[in-house]
Symmetry: C2
Subunit: 219 residues, 2 copies
Protein backbone atom coordinates (compact mmCIF):
# COMPACT_ATOMS: atom_id res chain seq x y z
CA UNK A 1 0.00 0.00 0.00
CA UNK A 2 1.39 3.42 -0.96
CA UNK A 3 1.53 5.94 1.83
CA UNK A 4 0.15 9.38 1.10
CA UNK A 5 -2.16 10.78 3.72
CA UNK A 6 -1.48 14.43 2.98
CA UNK A 7 -5.21 15.00 2.39
CA UNK A 8 -6.18 13.52 5.75
CA UNK A 9 -7.10 16.28 8.18
CA UNK A 10 -5.13 16.68 11.39
CA UNK A 11 -8.43 16.37 13.28
CA UNK A 12 -8.63 12.75 12.10
CA UNK A 13 -4.94 12.12 12.77
CA UNK A 14 -5.28 13.45 16.32
CA UNK A 15 -7.93 10.83 17.02
CA UNK A 16 -5.71 7.92 15.90
CA UNK A 17 -3.73 7.56 19.15
CA UNK A 18 -7.01 7.13 21.00
CA UNK A 19 -8.11 4.33 18.64
CA UNK A 20 -4.67 2.80 19.10
CA UNK A 21 -4.99 2.90 22.89
CA UNK A 22 -8.48 1.35 22.94
CA UNK A 23 -7.51 -1.37 20.48
CA UNK A 24 -4.52 -2.23 22.69
CA UNK A 25 -6.87 -2.53 25.69
CA UNK A 26 -9.12 -4.85 23.68
CA UNK A 27 -6.18 -7.02 22.68
CA UNK A 28 -5.06 -7.16 26.31
CA UNK A 29 -8.58 -8.44 27.13
CA UNK A 30 -8.30 -10.97 24.29
CA UNK A 31 -11.04 -9.36 22.22
CA UNK A 32 -10.12 -9.98 18.58
CA UNK A 33 -13.13 -8.70 16.68
CA UNK A 34 -15.33 -5.65 17.20
CA UNK A 35 -18.13 -3.85 15.35
CA UNK A 36 -17.96 -0.11 14.78
CA UNK A 37 -21.02 0.12 17.05
CA UNK A 38 -19.28 -1.62 19.96
CA UNK A 39 -16.13 0.40 19.36
CA UNK A 40 -18.27 3.53 19.38
CA UNK A 41 -19.79 2.62 22.75
CA UNK A 42 -16.30 2.12 24.20
CA UNK A 43 -14.45 5.06 22.75
CA UNK A 44 -17.23 7.65 22.66
CA UNK A 45 -17.03 8.61 18.97
CA UNK A 46 -20.13 7.84 16.85
CA UNK A 47 -20.05 4.67 14.75
CA UNK A 48 -20.29 6.74 11.59
CA UNK A 49 -17.39 8.91 12.73
CA UNK A 50 -15.33 5.79 13.31
CA UNK A 51 -16.12 4.40 9.85
CA UNK A 52 -15.30 7.76 8.27
CA UNK A 53 -12.04 8.13 10.20
CA UNK A 54 -10.79 4.67 9.32
CA UNK A 55 -11.87 5.02 5.70
CA UNK A 56 -9.41 7.90 5.34
CA UNK A 57 -6.65 5.33 5.63
CA UNK A 58 -8.11 2.75 3.31
CA UNK A 59 -10.85 1.26 5.53
CA UNK A 60 -10.26 -1.85 7.54
CA UNK A 61 -13.76 -3.11 8.35
CA UNK A 62 -15.63 -5.88 6.61
CA UNK A 63 -19.39 -5.72 6.17
CA UNK A 64 -21.06 -8.05 8.67
CA UNK A 65 -17.82 -8.89 10.46
CA UNK A 66 -16.64 -5.63 11.93
CA UNK A 67 -13.00 -4.92 12.58
CA UNK A 68 -10.21 -7.37 13.18
CA UNK A 69 -8.80 -5.78 16.34
CA UNK A 70 -5.22 -6.96 15.94
CA UNK A 71 -5.02 -6.00 12.28
CA UNK A 72 -6.53 -2.58 12.95
CA UNK A 73 -4.20 -2.03 15.92
CA UNK A 74 -1.16 -2.93 13.82
CA UNK A 75 -2.25 -0.82 10.86
CA UNK A 76 -2.93 2.25 13.00
CA UNK A 77 0.42 1.69 14.69
CA UNK A 78 2.09 1.71 11.26
CA UNK A 79 0.22 4.85 10.23
CA UNK A 80 1.45 6.50 13.42
CA UNK A 81 4.99 5.41 12.59
CA UNK A 82 5.20 3.23 15.69
CA UNK A 83 6.83 0.37 13.78
CA UNK A 84 9.95 2.53 13.54
CA UNK A 85 12.72 3.18 16.08
CA UNK A 86 13.40 6.83 16.87
CA UNK A 87 16.61 8.05 18.46
CA UNK A 88 15.92 10.62 21.16
CA UNK A 89 17.55 12.78 23.81
CA UNK A 90 15.97 14.57 26.76
CA UNK A 91 17.19 18.01 27.72
CA UNK A 92 16.40 18.88 31.32
CA UNK A 93 16.89 15.93 33.64
CA UNK A 94 14.76 17.21 36.52
CA UNK A 95 11.56 15.50 37.64
CA UNK A 96 9.78 15.99 34.34
CA UNK A 97 12.71 14.80 32.23
CA UNK A 98 13.10 11.77 34.47
CA UNK A 99 9.37 11.08 34.33
CA UNK A 100 9.52 11.07 30.51
CA UNK A 101 12.63 8.86 30.56
CA UNK A 102 10.77 6.35 32.71
CA UNK A 103 7.44 6.61 30.90
CA UNK A 104 6.59 3.02 29.86
CA UNK A 105 4.92 4.00 26.56
CA UNK A 106 8.00 5.88 25.59
CA UNK A 107 10.27 2.85 25.52
CA UNK A 108 7.60 0.42 24.40
CA UNK A 109 6.74 2.24 21.19
CA UNK A 110 10.23 2.55 19.81
CA UNK A 111 11.50 5.81 21.25
CA UNK A 112 15.09 4.95 22.11
CA UNK A 113 16.68 7.30 24.62
CA UNK A 114 20.39 7.94 23.99
CA UNK A 115 21.04 10.45 26.74
CA UNK A 116 19.72 13.07 29.11
CA UNK A 117 21.30 16.51 29.41
CA UNK A 118 21.32 19.02 32.20
CA UNK A 119 23.26 22.04 33.42
CA UNK A 120 23.05 21.01 37.08
CA UNK A 121 26.45 19.58 38.23
CA UNK A 122 24.59 17.41 40.78
CA UNK A 123 22.75 15.60 38.00
CA UNK A 124 25.56 15.35 35.44
CA UNK A 125 27.14 11.89 35.65
CA UNK A 126 24.08 10.24 37.16
CA UNK A 127 22.09 7.59 35.29
CA UNK A 128 18.38 7.05 34.65
CA UNK A 129 17.55 3.51 33.49
CA UNK A 130 21.26 3.01 32.69
CA UNK A 131 21.24 6.11 30.50
CA UNK A 132 23.75 8.83 31.24
CA UNK A 133 22.99 12.40 32.19
CA UNK A 134 25.49 14.57 30.30
CA UNK A 135 26.50 18.21 30.51
CA UNK A 136 24.12 20.26 28.38
CA UNK A 137 27.13 21.93 26.74
CA UNK A 138 27.78 18.66 24.90
CA UNK A 139 24.34 18.56 23.32
CA UNK A 140 25.21 19.66 19.77
CA UNK A 141 28.16 17.32 19.26
CA UNK A 142 26.20 14.43 20.81
CA UNK A 143 23.19 14.96 18.55
CA UNK A 144 25.39 15.19 15.46
CA UNK A 145 27.51 12.19 16.32
CA UNK A 146 24.58 9.92 17.22
CA UNK A 147 22.25 11.24 14.51
CA UNK A 148 19.54 11.94 17.05
CA UNK A 149 16.13 12.45 15.44
CA UNK A 150 14.01 13.77 18.31
CA UNK A 151 14.92 16.24 21.05
CA UNK A 152 12.65 16.39 24.09
CA UNK A 153 12.76 19.73 25.87
CA UNK A 154 12.00 19.56 29.59
CA UNK A 155 13.93 22.68 30.57
CA UNK A 156 12.66 25.91 32.12
CA UNK A 157 11.12 28.34 29.66
CA UNK A 158 14.09 30.74 29.79
CA UNK A 159 16.56 28.40 28.07
CA UNK A 160 14.16 26.43 25.87
CA UNK A 161 14.61 28.50 22.69
CA UNK A 162 18.40 28.33 22.96
CA UNK A 163 18.20 24.54 23.37
CA UNK A 164 15.82 24.31 20.41
CA UNK A 165 18.29 26.29 18.27
CA UNK A 166 21.14 23.98 19.24
CA UNK A 167 19.07 20.87 18.58
CA UNK A 168 17.93 22.01 15.13
CA UNK A 169 21.43 23.23 14.18
CA UNK A 170 22.73 19.81 15.09
CA UNK A 171 20.12 18.13 12.89
CA UNK A 172 17.13 16.87 14.90
CA UNK A 173 14.00 16.39 12.80
CA UNK A 174 11.45 16.79 15.57
CA UNK A 175 11.05 18.39 18.98
CA UNK A 176 8.69 17.30 21.75
CA UNK A 177 8.42 20.47 23.78
CA UNK A 178 7.26 20.66 27.39
CA UNK A 179 8.52 24.19 28.08
CA UNK A 180 5.68 26.70 28.34
CA UNK A 181 6.45 28.69 25.23
CA UNK A 182 6.09 28.33 21.46
CA UNK A 183 9.62 27.67 20.26
CA UNK A 184 10.67 28.85 16.82
CA UNK A 185 12.28 26.30 14.52
CA UNK A 186 13.15 26.03 10.80
CA UNK A 187 10.21 25.03 8.55
CA UNK A 188 11.42 21.47 8.09
CA UNK A 189 11.50 20.66 11.81
CA UNK A 190 8.35 19.33 13.46
CA UNK A 191 7.34 20.54 16.90
CA UNK A 192 4.74 18.91 19.11
CA UNK A 193 3.94 20.78 22.31
CA UNK A 194 2.64 19.61 25.66
CA UNK A 195 1.55 22.81 27.36
CA UNK A 196 0.63 21.62 30.84
CA UNK A 197 -0.63 24.99 32.02
CA UNK A 198 -3.06 25.21 29.11
CA UNK A 199 -4.65 21.97 30.20
CA UNK A 200 -4.73 23.07 33.84
CA UNK A 201 -6.34 26.40 32.91
CA UNK A 202 -9.06 24.61 30.94
CA UNK A 203 -9.85 22.54 34.03
CA UNK A 204 -9.96 25.74 36.04
CA UNK A 205 -12.27 27.36 33.45
CA UNK A 206 -14.68 24.43 33.49
CA UNK A 207 -14.80 24.30 37.30
CA UNK A 208 -15.36 28.05 37.53
CA UNK A 209 -18.01 27.91 34.81
CA UNK A 210 -19.88 25.10 36.54
CA UNK A 211 -19.84 26.98 39.83
CA UNK A 212 -21.19 30.11 38.16
CA UNK A 213 -24.02 28.11 36.57
CA UNK A 214 -24.89 26.47 39.89
CA UNK A 215 -24.87 29.86 41.63
CA UNK A 216 -27.17 31.26 38.92
CA UNK A 217 -29.59 28.35 39.40
CA UNK A 218 -29.77 28.95 43.15
CA UNK A 219 -30.88 32.56 42.61
CA UNK B 1 -20.55 41.81 34.43
CA UNK B 2 -22.75 38.71 34.50
CA UNK B 3 -20.99 35.48 33.71
CA UNK B 4 -22.67 33.13 31.30
CA UNK B 5 -20.45 31.74 28.61
CA UNK B 6 -22.39 28.54 28.04
CA UNK B 7 -22.79 29.43 24.36
CA UNK B 8 -19.06 29.92 23.85
CA UNK B 9 -17.58 26.96 22.00
CA UNK B 10 -14.86 24.89 23.64
CA UNK B 11 -12.69 25.61 20.58
CA UNK B 12 -12.60 29.27 21.62
CA UNK B 13 -12.11 28.42 25.29
CA UNK B 14 -9.18 26.16 24.44
CA UNK B 15 -7.43 29.11 22.80
CA UNK B 16 -7.73 31.33 25.88
CA UNK B 17 -4.73 29.93 27.80
CA UNK B 18 -2.55 30.76 24.81
CA UNK B 19 -3.77 34.37 24.77
CA UNK B 20 -3.17 34.48 28.49
CA UNK B 21 0.41 33.22 28.07
CA UNK B 22 1.28 35.69 25.31
CA UNK B 23 -0.24 38.61 27.18
CA UNK B 24 1.83 37.68 30.24
CA UNK B 25 4.98 37.69 28.05
CA UNK B 26 4.04 41.14 26.75
CA UNK B 27 3.53 42.47 30.27
CA UNK B 28 6.91 41.01 31.29
CA UNK B 29 8.39 42.99 28.39
CA UNK B 30 6.50 46.09 29.54
CA UNK B 31 4.29 46.23 26.48
CA UNK B 32 0.99 47.72 27.63
CA UNK B 33 -0.94 48.16 24.41
CA UNK B 34 -1.25 46.02 21.32
CA UNK B 35 -3.31 45.93 18.12
CA UNK B 36 -5.08 42.75 17.04
CA UNK B 37 -2.74 42.76 14.03
CA UNK B 38 0.42 42.78 16.18
CA UNK B 39 -1.09 40.18 18.50
CA UNK B 40 -1.89 38.09 15.42
CA UNK B 41 1.71 38.27 14.23
CA UNK B 42 2.93 37.09 17.64
CA UNK B 43 0.44 34.39 18.43
CA UNK B 44 -0.24 33.03 14.96
CA UNK B 45 -4.05 33.34 14.90
CA UNK B 46 -5.52 35.73 12.28
CA UNK B 47 -6.47 39.21 13.48
CA UNK B 48 -10.10 38.51 12.64
CA UNK B 49 -9.98 35.27 14.65
CA UNK B 50 -8.61 37.19 17.60
CA UNK B 51 -11.34 39.83 17.38
CA UNK B 52 -14.00 37.13 17.10
CA UNK B 53 -12.61 35.10 20.00
CA UNK B 54 -12.42 38.04 22.35
CA UNK B 55 -15.85 39.30 21.30
CA UNK B 56 -17.34 36.07 22.69
CA UNK B 57 -16.49 37.37 26.13
CA UNK B 58 -17.70 40.91 25.65
CA UNK B 59 -14.88 42.33 23.53
CA UNK B 60 -12.04 44.25 25.06
CA UNK B 61 -10.55 46.22 22.17
CA UNK B 62 -11.12 49.86 21.35
CA UNK B 63 -11.24 51.06 17.76
CA UNK B 64 -7.98 52.84 16.89
CA UNK B 65 -6.32 51.94 20.18
CA UNK B 66 -6.11 48.19 20.21
CA UNK B 67 -6.05 46.16 23.38
CA UNK B 68 -4.94 47.23 26.82
CA UNK B 69 -2.60 44.31 27.55
CA UNK B 70 -2.91 44.34 31.32
CA UNK B 71 -6.70 44.65 31.29
CA UNK B 72 -7.04 41.89 28.71
CA UNK B 73 -4.62 39.66 30.64
CA UNK B 74 -6.58 40.17 33.86
CA UNK B 75 -9.96 39.63 32.22
CA UNK B 76 -8.89 36.43 30.48
CA UNK B 77 -7.41 35.28 33.79
CA UNK B 78 -10.80 35.86 35.44
CA UNK B 79 -12.63 34.04 32.65
CA UNK B 80 -10.26 31.10 33.19
CA UNK B 81 -11.00 31.20 36.91
CA UNK B 82 -7.38 32.05 37.76
CA UNK B 83 -8.40 34.69 40.31
CA UNK B 84 -9.59 31.84 42.53
CA UNK B 85 -7.67 29.52 44.84
CA UNK B 86 -8.17 25.79 44.25
CA UNK B 87 -7.34 23.14 46.81
CA UNK B 88 -5.58 20.17 45.24
CA UNK B 89 -3.93 16.84 45.98
CA UNK B 90 -1.58 14.79 43.81
CA UNK B 91 -1.91 11.02 43.78
CA UNK B 92 1.28 9.31 42.66
CA UNK B 93 4.40 10.99 44.06
CA UNK B 94 6.88 9.59 41.54
CA UNK B 95 8.76 11.75 39.07
CA UNK B 96 5.64 13.00 37.30
CA UNK B 97 3.78 13.81 40.53
CA UNK B 98 6.85 15.61 41.85
CA UNK B 99 7.25 17.49 38.56
CA UNK B 100 3.65 18.73 38.80
CA UNK B 101 4.14 19.65 42.49
CA UNK B 102 7.15 21.76 41.51
CA UNK B 103 5.65 23.22 38.34
CA UNK B 104 5.92 27.01 38.76
CA UNK B 105 2.66 27.81 36.96
CA UNK B 106 0.85 25.46 39.26
CA UNK B 107 1.55 27.44 42.41
CA UNK B 108 1.52 30.83 40.73
CA UNK B 109 -2.01 30.57 39.40
CA UNK B 110 -3.73 29.62 42.61
CA UNK B 111 -3.53 25.84 42.69
CA UNK B 112 -2.77 25.16 46.33
CA UNK B 113 -1.30 21.72 46.97
CA UNK B 114 -2.44 20.16 50.27
CA UNK B 115 -0.72 16.81 49.97
CA UNK B 116 0.79 14.12 47.80
CA UNK B 117 -0.19 10.47 48.11
CA UNK B 118 1.63 7.29 47.22
CA UNK B 119 1.63 3.60 48.01
CA UNK B 120 5.45 3.35 48.06
CA UNK B 121 6.68 3.14 51.69
CA UNK B 122 9.95 4.79 50.62
CA UNK B 123 8.10 7.92 49.56
CA UNK B 124 5.50 8.10 52.36
CA UNK B 125 6.67 10.57 55.01
CA UNK B 126 8.90 12.54 52.62
CA UNK B 127 8.18 16.12 51.68
CA UNK B 128 8.07 18.03 48.39
CA UNK B 129 8.19 21.82 48.82
CA UNK B 130 7.28 21.34 52.50
CA UNK B 131 4.23 19.33 51.50
CA UNK B 132 3.81 15.85 52.96
CA UNK B 133 3.62 12.62 51.01
CA UNK B 134 0.91 10.52 52.68
CA UNK B 135 -0.15 6.91 52.41
CA UNK B 136 -2.62 6.58 49.54
CA UNK B 137 -4.97 4.67 51.86
CA UNK B 138 -5.71 7.96 53.62
CA UNK B 139 -6.87 9.70 50.45
CA UNK B 140 -10.63 9.64 51.01
CA UNK B 141 -10.62 10.93 54.58
CA UNK B 142 -8.06 13.59 53.66
CA UNK B 143 -10.08 14.87 50.70
CA UNK B 144 -13.27 14.99 52.78
CA UNK B 145 -11.66 16.68 55.76
CA UNK B 146 -9.82 19.33 53.73
CA UNK B 147 -12.60 19.82 51.16
CA UNK B 148 -10.19 19.22 48.29
CA UNK B 149 -11.58 20.41 44.97
CA UNK B 150 -9.11 18.97 42.45
CA UNK B 151 -7.40 15.57 42.41
CA UNK B 152 -4.39 15.15 40.16
CA UNK B 153 -3.81 11.57 39.09
CA UNK B 154 -0.16 10.72 38.33
CA UNK B 155 -0.43 7.00 39.07
CA UNK B 156 0.10 4.03 36.75
CA UNK B 157 -2.87 3.20 34.55
CA UNK B 158 -3.78 0.08 36.54
CA UNK B 159 -4.87 1.92 39.69
CA UNK B 160 -6.10 5.18 38.16
CA UNK B 161 -9.81 4.26 37.97
CA UNK B 162 -9.82 3.11 41.59
CA UNK B 163 -8.20 6.38 42.66
CA UNK B 164 -10.69 8.36 40.57
CA UNK B 165 -13.59 6.52 42.30
CA UNK B 166 -12.16 7.31 45.73
CA UNK B 167 -11.61 10.96 44.84
CA UNK B 168 -15.12 11.47 43.48
CA UNK B 169 -16.73 9.58 46.38
CA UNK B 170 -14.87 11.88 48.74
CA UNK B 171 -16.17 14.95 46.91
CA UNK B 172 -13.62 16.35 44.47
CA UNK B 173 -15.14 18.50 41.71
CA UNK B 174 -12.45 18.04 39.12
CA UNK B 175 -9.71 15.62 38.10
CA UNK B 176 -6.55 16.41 36.17
CA UNK B 177 -5.64 13.01 34.80
CA UNK B 178 -2.18 12.02 33.55
CA UNK B 179 -2.80 8.24 33.54
CA UNK B 180 -3.10 6.87 30.00
CA UNK B 181 -6.76 5.90 30.14
CA UNK B 182 -10.16 7.59 30.04
CA UNK B 183 -11.38 7.44 33.62
CA UNK B 184 -15.11 7.19 34.31
CA UNK B 185 -16.59 9.70 36.74
CA UNK B 186 -20.07 10.91 37.73
CA UNK B 187 -21.61 13.50 35.38
CA UNK B 188 -21.02 16.42 37.71
CA UNK B 189 -17.25 15.85 37.96
CA UNK B 190 -14.99 17.50 35.40
CA UNK B 191 -12.04 15.61 33.94
CA UNK B 192 -9.20 17.15 31.98
CA UNK B 193 -6.72 14.69 30.51
CA UNK B 194 -3.07 15.01 29.61
CA UNK B 195 -2.41 11.97 27.46
CA UNK B 196 1.34 12.15 26.90
CA UNK B 197 1.47 9.19 24.55
CA UNK B 198 -1.14 10.75 22.26
CA UNK B 199 1.08 13.78 21.85
CA UNK B 200 4.16 11.61 21.30
CA UNK B 201 2.35 9.50 18.68
CA UNK B 202 1.32 12.62 16.78
CA UNK B 203 4.97 13.68 16.66
CA UNK B 204 5.85 10.21 15.42
CA UNK B 205 3.09 10.39 12.77
CA UNK B 206 4.29 13.75 11.48
CA UNK B 207 7.93 12.63 11.31
CA UNK B 208 6.98 9.42 9.53
CA UNK B 209 4.70 11.31 7.14
CA UNK B 210 7.41 13.83 6.29
CA UNK B 211 9.91 11.05 5.61
CA UNK B 212 7.45 9.26 3.32
CA UNK B 213 6.85 12.48 1.36
CA UNK B 214 10.58 13.11 1.00
CA UNK B 215 11.14 9.53 -0.14
CA UNK B 216 8.35 9.92 -2.72
CA UNK B 217 9.96 13.13 -4.02
CA UNK B 218 13.33 11.44 -4.47
CA UNK B 219 11.78 8.77 -6.73
Amino acid sequence: MGRDFTDVSMAVVRRLPKYHRYLKDLLDKEVYRISSRELSRLIGFTASQIRQDLNCFGGFGQQGYGYNVEELYNEIGKILGLNKIYSTVIIGAGNLGQAIANYPHFVKYGFKLYGLFDSNPKLIGMKIRDINIYDVDAIESFVEKNQIEIGIICTPKEVAQDIADKLTNAGVKGIWNFAPLDIKVPDDVIVENVHLSESLFILSYLLHEKEALEAAKRK
